[in-house]
């Protein structure tokens, strides 16, 4: 198949990009995801999971049952920030000034 064929509809990642990630050593959906952004869009790999695993299986010779699953993230469906925030248990405005500013880092 034409290597420019889209695999991940959301992020518009094609076969060639996925194969390149595999060539660079990635063997799992999640590792390919972090290299290419495949599966990181709004559908969160619900659509491309199967075709990507097929490409991994074909390229590496691994059987499908050995290709590991992507880690599925919450929220299971897209949700508005306001909808998520509503009804949360008593949160206060907290300043990030001071110690907590380091939270975003690793």
């Amino acid at each position: 198949m034409d290597k420019s064929t889209i695999v991940c509809r959301c992020e518009e990642i094609n076969i060639d990009e996925i194969e390149t990630a595999i060539k660079n050593g990635a063997e799992t959906f999640d590792d390919i995801k972090r290299l290419t952004r495949c599966g990181m869009g709004p559908c969160q790999s619900k659509t491309c999971f199967y075709p990507v695993n097929e490409i991994i299986a074909e390229y590496t010779g691994m059987p499908l049952n050995e290709v590991s699953l992507p880690r599925l993230r919450m929220p299971l469906k897209m949700v508005r920030m306001s909808t998520l925030a509503q009804d949360s248990e008593g949160s206060n405005v907290v300043s990030v000034f001071g110690e907590s500013v380091e939270d975003g880092e690793s």
Binding site: G25, R80, S95, F97, G104
Partner: protein, 378 residues
Amino acid sequence: MWYRYLVNQWKMVNHKMDNLFDVIVVGSGVIGSSVAYHLSESKKHEVLLIDKGFPLSGTSGSTQAWVWVHSKTPSWYGELSMLSAELYPFLEKKIGDVEYKRTGGIAPFFNEAERESALRLAEKQAEVGIEIEVLNREEVLEKEPSLSPEIAGATFSKIDGNVNPFRLVELYVKAARKNGVHCSFYNPVNDIEKSGDIFQVKTQKGSFRSKKIVLAGGPWSKELGKMLGMDMPVKQVRGQILVTEPLQPFLKYTIGGIRQADNGEVLIGYSKEEVGYDRRSTLDVMQQTARMAIDFIPALSKANIVRCFSGIRVMPEDGFPILDEVPGMEGAYVIAMHSGITLSPLIGTLMTELLTEGETSINLSRFSLERFNGIQSR
């Protein structure tokens, strides 16, 4: 197709038949891969980089990736962060575009009491050359109009920014490989032994030998430390981060807890939980985080959240970096720190100095293991 891949894999690990390396780096997160890369620059050493998974499968792939300086205290720690941040533009020239952006950092505060500590911070950091402005509400809103008018003010520094962690680690590894570093991924280390001057690193895919080893396991340092018979003075801290779908660019600065990435996604995270290696997200924290995001930036309320990811971060017991030779075990080094993204260029440089020259351009006594009580090696 697949045979090409196998040959590729074989090349990566096995073409060194005697399996003897100058240095084995365990952990290919941002710290391990930075060490491997900086060590490889001279092309004088045989280096092996090992990871139980693939680069970015751990902490370095689950971070907001700020390069953050201004509120790091005490000021020697702030200075260290500043020196590292200053290395980023040069690093980018060497390894390629890691999307480093010195956006300037804003840390908002909500009351007058906090303004006092903001002023004290600015004074303290000025001593080491970190420039901080304490802004009032109007000044903050002029810089970042999407911030909530409820804030009282903010500290601001031009030195802060962020980077794309995926590009950063990928390019560290790529550059290291180009310089001849061997890599073995999806390969957990089971045990480390030392006989004479040589370390034996026993992995799932076989044994490797080396003259020196560097343990850069991040939160998993604890397990690696055990292999050397030491109790690593580090904790695991979970941070959960919400990600919106890509939005039109509207945030210019790196804001305490929030930043907008190049592709438009907004990343938001404030949480800190001690739950071991549990990487799940929970709706409790997600809802609190969403609430806070709206408190800071009301316009985010209509943004769609597409995912929440969790990262397990390493936190040395006193909060400050560890970079030291293991007491009583010559040739074995450990590096563990929070803020690895900010510090990686500097730490990679210092570790390379230590491994190759035996001394460093910055005094490392503050990073020693000795400062913790009861660290013992076998």
